[in-house]
């Protein structure tokens, strides 16, 4: 292949990407919002010996349950955690109740603004959310700030800089240019806030495909450290244009995750690489 933009090659295996970019003690951001949840990357972390992670996300998915159940997470920084549309997280509730996990909770907008501050390269952002009351009292990292121009009092939230963002998208090229369409939610904001980005994709395509549709590019290659081909890497969530959400799996997980031993076996199956069994068993 000849080109005049000096292509690099950021394509690597899932294991290489995770061991090369995620370290114990890191703060990680999880991309996807209902759509394109990076389950393949989460499973790779479960299989690794990476520990003591802080995981941040506006509104989480059961991918967070998986990471917490594996024992690799010390703290979550979230606006919401649970099983979307179905209810509470039994896994996270248990981990919190036994003191295995710390919770830093605020709201989806507040977490988003903390990431956006990092993305903008400023130490904080002012906002009108986080009103005085119970939630504010329980929200760490919130202060009052006076606008130097109007004198108005606002809430200030500090920048949150993840060490690494884990995202899944439809496609990318070897340079690391990532294309994603459909719902993106907080994906781009969180990825651009992060020091490193790992991206799994349904397919790796030629750069000409990317460069003839640059309006679909959410991250240019210079912001992306690793590209991994991971077909069906967002299952059981969905990928626009590829596969639908496995609603039945989310339902089963909600029912069975009440039982801690079921969750332990679920994690063990992932560690044994019995992924098909883990993701279809009831």
């Amino acid at each position: 292949v000849t080109s005049d933009w000096a292509p690099s090659n950021k394509v690597m295996s899932l294991t290489e990407a995770v061991s090369g970019s995620v370290r114990s003690g890191d703060t990680i951001f999880i991309g996807g919002f209902g759509h394109c949840i990076p389950f393949a990357l989460a499973r790779a972390i479960v299989r690794s010996d990476i520990r003591h992670l802080t995981v941040c996300k506006t509104g989480a998915d059961i991918v967070l349950d998986l990471l917490v159940a594996s024992g690799s997470v010390d703290e979550i920084v979230v606006g919401w955690f649970g099983n979307p549309g179905l209810g509470i997280s039994h896994v996270i509730s248990r981990a919190l109740s036994v003191g295995q996990l710390r919770l830093s909770e605020s709201t989806n907008f507040a977490v988003l603004l903390r990431l956006h501050a990092a993305r903008l390269g400023v130490p904080f952002l002012p906002t009108r959310t986080i009103a005085p009351g119970n939630l504010r009292d329980r929200t760490r990292d919130v202060e009052t700030v006076t606008c130097p121009f109007t004198g108005e009092e606002l809430t200030a939230v500090p920048a949150l800089v993840p060490d690494v963002a884990l995202i899944h998208a439809q496609r990318a090229d070897r340079d690391g240019n990532v294309q994603m369409w459909g719902v993106t939610g907080d994906t781009v904001i969180g990825a651009e806030a992060s020091r490193r980005v790992i991206c799994t994709v349904e397919e790796i395509v030629e750069s000409t495909t990317i460069r003839t549709n640059p309006d679909r590019t959410i991250l240019a290659g210079h912001r992306v450290n690793a590209i991994v081909a991971a077909t069906r890497g967002a299952v059981p969530s969905y990928v626009e244009g590829h596969y639908p959400r496995d609603d039945a799996f989310y339902q089963q997980f909600q029912t069975h995750s009440k039982d801690a031993s079921w969750v332990d076996e679920f994690v063990a199956r992932i560690r044994r690489n019995e992924e098909d069994a883990a993701w279809s068993s009831a």
Binding site: H35, I88, Y238
Partner: protein, 243 residues
């Protein structure tokens, strides 16, 4: 489909104002907006926190980022687009549910029991606190249940009526929860308290207040518009996929 769920969605739908921009949560709020859009308020524009704007879901979504929300929308923005419009004051009506709502319009989605040692740890605010604080007004859609319509919430995830709500914030009045729809009636905010101001067509005040410490706003109450006979047959598909 359970009739009470359709009645709840309908009663809430009667409170939408045609042409308004509405910020919609998952569950009963989304169903209410979907029914309103097909009946009394065809020109509302639905925004979901995922950033999907001018959405028109055909089936009850499980997630604000779901394919049901994404399909047929006018725009896939991102989450910052959604909350930016909310903070600017561009959202007329936020539509929320909660584990509990109290007479002051405070909502709890955080804990059952005490915060530090909860009996049940709930999912938390999500975007609900942001919507309750920043929308021009908020409609709460809540099944009739004395455990969920209470005198005082365990934890105020979303603030209801309080001093200061009568003053503009960023040039915009943001009144918070001003109404609670149940399948039995409608409560609206009067002098800082949610009181029963209408009952379901054919229903009674006693039914609408059954088991609650809440009160009626006056001795003779209006009836909400009757549930259209054909709502389930015409729009039953809306309810598939939800609980």
């Amino acid at each position: 489909v359970v009739l009470s769920m359709i009645q709840l969605a309908w009663n809430a739908a009667t409170q939408f104002v045609d042409g308004e921009r509405v910020f919609v949560g998952i569950g009963h709020p989304a169903l209410a907006a979907m029914v309103a859009r097909r009946t009394l308020a065809p020109h509302i524009s639905m925004l979901f926190e995922s950033g999907v704007d001018a959405a028109d879901p055909q089936r009850a979504p499980l997630s604000t980022g779901g394919a049901e929300v994404a399909a047929g929308a006018a725009r896939h923005g991102d989450m910052l687009d959604a909350f930016a419009d909310l903070q600017q004051g561009l959202i007329d009506l936020g539509v929320l549910g909660a584990a509990q709502v109290d007479r002051g319009g405070n909502l709890n989605s955080t804990v059952v029991g005490s915060y530090d040692t909860p009996r049940v740890r709930l999912p938390g605010s999500g975007g609900a606190h942001d919507i309750a604080v920043l929308a021009r007004r908020v409609l709460v859609v809540q099944p009739h249940d004395p455990k969920r319509l209470v005198d005082k919430v365990w934890f105020t995830t979303c603030p209801g009526w309080h001093e200061g709500r009568e003053h503009p914030v960023g040039g915009v009045l943001r009144r918070g929860p001003v109404a609670v729809a149940t399948e039995r009636g409608l409560f609206t905010l009067q002098q800082g308290e949610l009181v029963l101001t209408a009952v379901t067509a054919g229903g009674t005040v006693a039914d609408a207040l059954e088991g609650l410490d809440w009160r009626a706003g006056s001795t003779s109450l209006a009836e909400l518009p009757p549930l259209p006979d054909d709502l389930e047959s015409r729009f039953g598909d809306l309810f598939s996929g939800s609980s």
